[in-house]
């Protein structure tokens, strides 16, 4: 990384520009130093299996608690590894850095046994102490991690992070070099899938302690995953190569993965067409046509597109009016004609595909809790207006952040409400940050929303609408809901726990706090030779099993 060069470069830049502008002499291009000949040529560099995928943008940071977004974690997930890693076929935690783990009878104490052959890229063994340090570092207010809340499962971590407790009270302890003991705040049985998340990846203690910027360059980055980072050109590409010292190296098929930083999906698509990328996203305006192609790959995603009501404002303080709106909007049409990515329509709030302890998916057990129904919607609206003594409905404004697709969806919703309920809705769009701030302050009456799941449990969804949660943003508060959520967090029996969560979802849907629209999915184009890229509904792309045939 070039540091302290800024000043010099700045003025040479100015001078150079000036001279050239005046003199019109011509070193018109020639980028000697950047020409590494690395571009374009596809995987067939001899027998090397090099997968080229698009990362979309430069990673925010490759320091696990700092990155906290897809750009960072799609890379980090393949160059580092946590105590567990989700299995290839199901999003179930499997041993990774930890060989196995024990749980105490009360479900509160987890003891992870770290495998003997777990090593860092600098040759040091991965130790329990590294994990203790990393988890405390995630919670440390000085680290200022945007993902700090993922440490709150650990007893004492939240207090440390909010400044009310101290580091010593965070209950994660390296018992010996390879044994890690963690005491949880609540007996959550999905904790082993929490430690598969990149936010809870270990960092090499000595490195991170001595160099704050250790994750900023290839030379100082110390990793422990299936691949090792070997080249990094800012805003151009990152190259990772197979880590022969990885404990499960024989499973890894690829020799190298090149992540390109191509922000524009249309450009990525062109590169894909030109055989310079193996995997590309699908440009929004080509979705309908390309989704049917043989090269399209659709992965389900734990995430939802929905709308929020402000229950503190008229007319949405009335439950029946909220219900009427929710039932009058046809999510299927929005998916079929606007989004066109074959997304499943929401029939509840919680993501459908979570694995249920009784077998099958969560939704198969819980059943549908929401459907589009114009007749019911009309009756409910009438009922609600009667309850409030309205002759005409107070003015309703649907807000969304500026974006072509959101705009089209908002117009469709406007049309549906007009046709199905005879209600005129105004549309209002603002820039994203402005929109978000207004939504956070519960200033928007009726607004577009989305949520991307972080971990593999219905609690990930339910937690959002507990009273005072920063994700709530509706002004809605319900004692029964809150206590069901709290109770389920204390429940040790998995089936009973799911039952409680299902009851909480029923309360939530009955209250119609949101208009459910559709579940997300991830759509890509993949060349026929690409196999076994794993993308679970939660988490980030897994290339450990990927291959080029």
């Amino acid at each position: 990384m070039k540091k302290h060069k800024m000043k010099g470069l700045f003025f040479t830049g100015l001078l150079g520009a000036a001279l050239l502008a005046a003199g019109c002499s011509g070193n018109d291009n020639a980028s000697g130093e950047q020409n590494d000949g690395n571009n374009g040529n596809n995987s067939n560099d001899g027998e090397e299996k090099r997968l080229i995928i698009n990362n979309g943008s430069e990673p925010t940071s490759l320091d696990p608690p700092i990155g906290n977004d897809e750009y960072s974690y799609s890379i980090l997930n393949n160059v580092m590894e946590g105590l567990t890693r989700l299995e290839k076929d199901d999003p179930v935690p499997a041993p990774a850095m930890a060989e196995d783990w024990d749980v105490s009878d009360d479900g509160l104490t987890y003891t992870f046994h770290i495998r003997e052959d777990a090593v860092w890229s600098n040759g040091d063994p991965v130790t329990a102490e590294d994990f203790e340090y990393s988890f405390k570092r995630l919670a440390d207010p000085e680290t200022a991690s945007p993902a700090a809340h993922h440490s709150y499962w650990i007893a004492g971590a939240e207090a440390f992070n909010t400044g009310e407790g101290s580091e010593e009270d965070v209950q994660v302890t390296a018992v010996d070099e390879k044994t890690l003991e963690i005491v949880l705040e609540n007996p959550v049985d999905f904790f082993p899938s929490i430690v598969a998340m990149p936010q809870l990846f270990p960092v090499h203690k000595d490195t991170a302690e001595n160099d704050e910027n250790w994750a900023n360059s290839v030379d100082t980055l110390v990793t422990n995953g299936p691949f090792t980072l070997t080249e990094w050109e800012r805003d151009e590409y990152i190259l990772v190569e197979k880590n022969e010292d990885y404990w499960d190296a024989e499973t890894v098929n690829l020799d190298a993965v090149e992540y390109l930083m191509v922000e524009d999906t249309n450009t990525a698509y062109q590169l894909y067409q030109n055989n310079e990328l193996h995997v590309s996203g699908i440009p929004t305006d080509m979705m309908g046509e390309l989704i049917e192609s043989d090269e399209a790959a659709i992965y389900p995603r734990s995430g939802i597109e929905f709308q929020r009501f402000n229950v503190e404002e008229e007319p949405f303080h009335n439950k029946n009016i909220r219900k009427a709106f929710a039932k009058a909007i046809n999510g299927q049409e929005i998916v079929d004609y606007i989004i066109q990515g074959n997304q499943p329509v929401m029939d509840g709030y919680i993501y459908n595909e979570f694995v249920h302890p009784a077998g099958g998916t969560y939704r198969e057990n819980a059943g549908s809790m929401h459907e589009f129904n114009v007749d019911e919607a009309r009756e409910l609206l009438e009922l609600g207006m009667e309850e409030e003594g309205y002759d005409t409905l107070p003015e309703v404004t649907l807000s969304y952040n500026t974006d072509d697709q959101h705009h089209t969806v908002a117009q469709a919703v406007q049309e549906m409400l007009q046709q199905n309920l005879g209600v005129d809705v105004k549309l209002e769009n603002t820039e994203w940050a402005v929109f978000l701030e207004a939504q956070r302050n519960v200033e928007l009456q009726y607004s577009r929303s989305s949520f991307l799941g972080g971990y593999n449990d219905p609690m990930n969804y339910l937690d959002n609408f507990t009273s005072g949660n920063p994700m709530n943003r509706t002004g809605w508060s319900n004692e029964e809901y809150d206590s069901l959520v709290a109770e389920s967090l204390q429940e040790v029996d998995p089936e009973r726990r799911f039952e409680l969560m299902q009851q909480a979802e029923e309360v939530f849907m009955e209250e119609a706090v949101i208009v459910p629209l559709y579940f997300y999915n991830s759509t890509f184009l993949e060349k026929p030779e690409v196999v076994d890229i794993v993308r679970h509904p939660v988490g980030f792309v897994e290339l450990k099993w990927a291959d080029l045939q």
Partner: protein, 310 residues
């Protein structure tokens, strides 16, 4: 002359200071919190800790003075959106690409713009004039991102010689430079043409002709030199905007330049990056204008830079 330069330099500094100050208070007054992590489910405490990390918990005047200090020392600190690097890292790694692309397109637009303009003026109301001006109108009226896509589709995808996107060799420069330069080229061509037409009717041209000078000498030495004055005027602003990269072109061609930061820093409310891009753009702009003033004096001796001292 020296006194004039010094005075202009002082004004330059003052102008930049005013721009920086205005930008600072404007960016803090727009709604939107750069460190709100709530959207990814983050806790309120996490946002508070981040605020402390970036010193945003300090009162505004304190923040203002530390910003001024950072700017004077040209150290903009860590970026709020990309914590793995400082703003200086990001700018210094992106600036060369933007600079190369900018210089290439500037050279191309000036040479072809002036040539087309002169040609059109000399062949006034002939076929060549019309063709040139049609090219110029197309250059101005088709947005460069559309041109880029056409180039990528029809040139990049069909000829191996031109890569569809990305950066690295001189071949990567050609298509984006063409797309970026067509607008300025058209402006320069039209401006040169109309000035040439005017200059060619002047008395001193007739004098030169009467002296028996060759047509080439008249055009190059007498006509063009005067016709270029307005072109030089717009060169200042043009250079500044071309050198600091183009958000759209760099995005479409996946070029690792700094153009993206001008737009993304604002939508991300990345305060240090907003300040850095403001300082860079305004310094280049103000400096180019200063340079243009000096070049005036060189091209046209009738313009006196030091009237008061005479």
């Amino acid at each position: 002359m020296l006194k004039y330069i010094l005075k202009r330099f002082a004004w330059m500094i003052l102008t930049i200071w005013v721009i920086i100050t205005l930008t600072f208070f404007l960016m803090h007054s727009i709604p939107g919190d750069p460190l709100d992590v709530g959207d990814s489910g983050g806790s309120a405490a996490a946002s508070e800790n981040l605020r402390a990390y970036y010193n945003l918990d300090q009162p505004l005047p304190v923040q203002y003075f530390s910003y001024i200090k950072n700017i004077v020392t040209l150290d903009f600190g860590p970026s709020m959106t990309s914590r793995s690097s400082t703003v200086n890292d990001m700018i210094s790694s992106g600036f060369p690409a933007s600079l190369q692309l900018g210089i290439a397109s500037l050279v191309f637009s000036v040479i072809s713009g002036v040539a087309l303009g002169v040609l059109a003026a000399l062949r006034h109301n002939k076929m060549i004039d019309y063709i040139t001006m049609i090219v110029a109108v197309i250059g101005i009226s088709i947005p460069n991102f559309i041109q880029s896509m056409l180039f990528i589709n029809y040139i990049g995808a069909n000829f191996d010689f031109f890569p569809v996107a990305r950066w690295g060799t001189w071949r990567h420069v050609i298509l984006p430079a063409l797309a970026l330069s067509s607008g300025p080229m058209a402006i320069i061509a039209r401006l040169t043409r109309s000035n040439m037409l005017e200059v060619l009717t002047q008395d001193y041209i007739r004098t030169a002709k009467a002296k028996g000078l060759s047509a080439r000498k008249i055009v190059v030495k007498h006509a063009l030199r005067n016709a270029l004055l307005p072109v030089v005027t717009i060169m200042g602003a043009l250079t500044a905007s071309v050198l600091t990269g183009s958000f759209v072109i760099e995005r479409i061609f996946a070029i690792p330049g700094i153009g993206q930061y001008f737009v993304n820093s604002i939508s991300n409310r990345d305060y240090p990056m907003i300040m850095a891009t403001t300082v860079i753009y305004s310094s280049i702009l103000v400096f180019m204008m200063f340079l243009v003033d000096i070049i005036y004096g060189i091209i046209d001796p009738r313009i006196k830079l030091h009237t008061k001292e005479d």
